[in-house]
Amino acid sequence: MESDKSALKQTPLYGIHLNHGARMVPFAGWIMPVQYSGILEEHKAVRTAAGLFDVSHMGEIWIEGTGALEVVQRLITNDAAGLSENQAMYSPMCYPDGGVVDDLLVYKTAPDRYLLVVNAGNLDKDLVWITERAGPAARITDRSEETAQIALQGPASLEILRHLTIAPLEQLKYYWFLEGKVNGVDCLISRTGYTGEDGFEIYAAPEKAAELWESLLEAGRNAGLKPAGLGARDTLRFEAGLLLYGNELSPEITPLEAGLKSFVKLEKHHFIGREALLKQQEQGPAKKLVGFEMLERGIPRSGYPLKDQSGEKIGWVSSGTFAPTLEKNLGLGFVSSGHAAPGTLIFVEIRGKLVQAQVIPRPFYRKHPCR
C-alpha cells in the first residue's frame, strides 16, 4: 500500500496539503486530499461560505488550428458552434455506440483554440481517442502537467476573489471565463464548478499554484473559507445532481440514459455516437438514471442492487450517501424505464436485506436564490 503511493502523481499543492493536515488518498493515479477538517464541515462551508479545492489532477487538452472547431464538433455531443470566445460548455464525448468516453468542459479561448478539461482518470484514454480523430488541420496538445487548477466554490466566492483581482468578476456570467491576474498571478478564471454553488475554477501555472492557494485562503479567512477535499467535492456534486464519470457515466451508459438529453444535440449534422443516440432517442432508453430517497434506515452505496417489490432486479445504485445539507440518505441509480417515475417505490439491497426507497426528482439540492 505504502509502496504503491510512491508511484502516484503529486499535484503542485501536495506539500501544502500535508502542511494543512489533509488526509491523502490515491485517486485516479494521483495522491489527493480526501478531507481536511472533515467532510461534513467542509461540505457545510461550501454551502454557507466557501471552500477551496485542489483539482490540479484534472486533464487539460488543447485543440488548436483551423480545423479545431470541426474536431471539437465531431467529438462532443453538445454543439460548440455557437460558443463565443471566453465561453465554456459542458458535454459528453461518446463512442459510436453512444457509450461515454468522458464528460468534459470545452472552453473557447480564441477562434481556433479550444481547451478541453477532462477527468484525471480518463486523460490518457481521451488523449488517444482525440488524437486519432483529429485531422491535419488541428493540433492536439496535452498541457495537464503545465496546468494547476484550484476551485473556489460557495456563496462567498465572489467576495473572496474580489480581494485579489481587478478583473470584472461581477460581469462574469455562469459558464464564461476571462484571463486576469489573481494576486499578481496570470490565471484563467472560469465561473464554473462541481458543487451546485456559485464559484470559480482558476487555472494557473503549477509553479504559481502554492502562492495562489495561500493567497486565496488568506483572502477568505474572514468569510469562512475552508480548504476542502475530494470527499466533500463528491457529496456536494451528488446533492446538486452532477454526474460522476465511472458512476453515472461509462462506456456502458449513454448520455440519454444518464438524463443528459439537453447536452446531446441530435440536430447537429454529425458527431460520433449520433446514429446510436438518435435511435435510442426514438425508441426510448431501456434504463434511466433516477434519484431516490431511503424510506427505511440504510445508506445506498455504489454497486448495491436495486429491486422491485417482488425482489426482481431492476437496476443498480451508481452513487449514494448521507446528503449533508438535506440530512437524508439519498441515492442515484439506474433502473429499467418502467420504474423511473417519481413516486415509484423501489428497494435497495443492503447487506442482503431489501430496504425501501422512493424515486424522487433530481437534483436533490438547488441553491437559493436561483441565479
Binding site: G38, L40, G231, R297, I299, R301, F322
Partner: protein
C-alpha cells in the same frame, strides 16, 4: 490519539471495558473513529444475538465508506446503544464514552485477557503509522 489505561484493545481497533458485574462494553477506538471520518449511520445487532470472536457484529458508515466492527471476544449481546441510531456522531465525539456500541455477556470471562493492554495498543498504533 487517546488510549485510556483501563480498557483492553483488539487489532481491529475495538475496545473492551469490563464492568463490576463481569459484563463487558464494546466500542471502537479513537484511532478507528478518526480513520473513518464523520460517522453518519450505525447498524446495531439485536439483543440476544451471539457472535464468536472475530465475527462482524455491527456496521458503521461514514460519509464515504462502510466499515464492519469485529467482536473482540465471543459472547451474547445484552444491550445496544440505541442513542446512536439518531446520533451516530457520538462515536466520533466520545468513542470511549457515549459512543459505546454494545454490551456483551462473554462466553468465556477470561477471553479479554488475551487482548492488548493500553501500552501495547499504543505501540501497535505507532507501528501502523510508521
Amino acid at each position: 490519539m487517546q488510549v485510556p489505561d483501563d480498557l483492553k484493545y483488539s487489532k481491529e481497533h475495538e475496545w473492551v471495558r469490563t464492568k463490576a458485574d463481569g459484563a463487558v462494553t464494546v466500542g471502537i477506538t479513537d484511532y478507528a473513529q478518526d480513520a473513518m471520518g464523520d460517522i453518519v449511520f450505525v447498524e446495531l445487532p439485536r439483543i440476544g444475538d451471539s457472535f464468536a470472536a472475530g465475527e462482524p457484529f455491527c456496521t458503521l458508515e461514514s460519509v464515504k465508506a462502510v466499515s464492519e466492527c469485529y467482536m473482540p471476544a465471543g459472547g451474547k449481546i445484552t444491550a445496544v446503544n440505541e442513542s446512536l441510531l439518531d446520533s451516530p456522531e457520538l462515536v466520533n465525539q466520545d468513542p470511549y464514552g457515549a459512543g459505546w456500541l454494545v454490551e456483551v455477556e462473554l462466553d468465556d470471562a477470561a477471553e479479554p485477557a488475551a487482548l492488548m493492554i493500553a501500552a501495547e495498543y499504543a505501540q501497535y498504533l505507532a507501528s501502523l503509522t510508521e
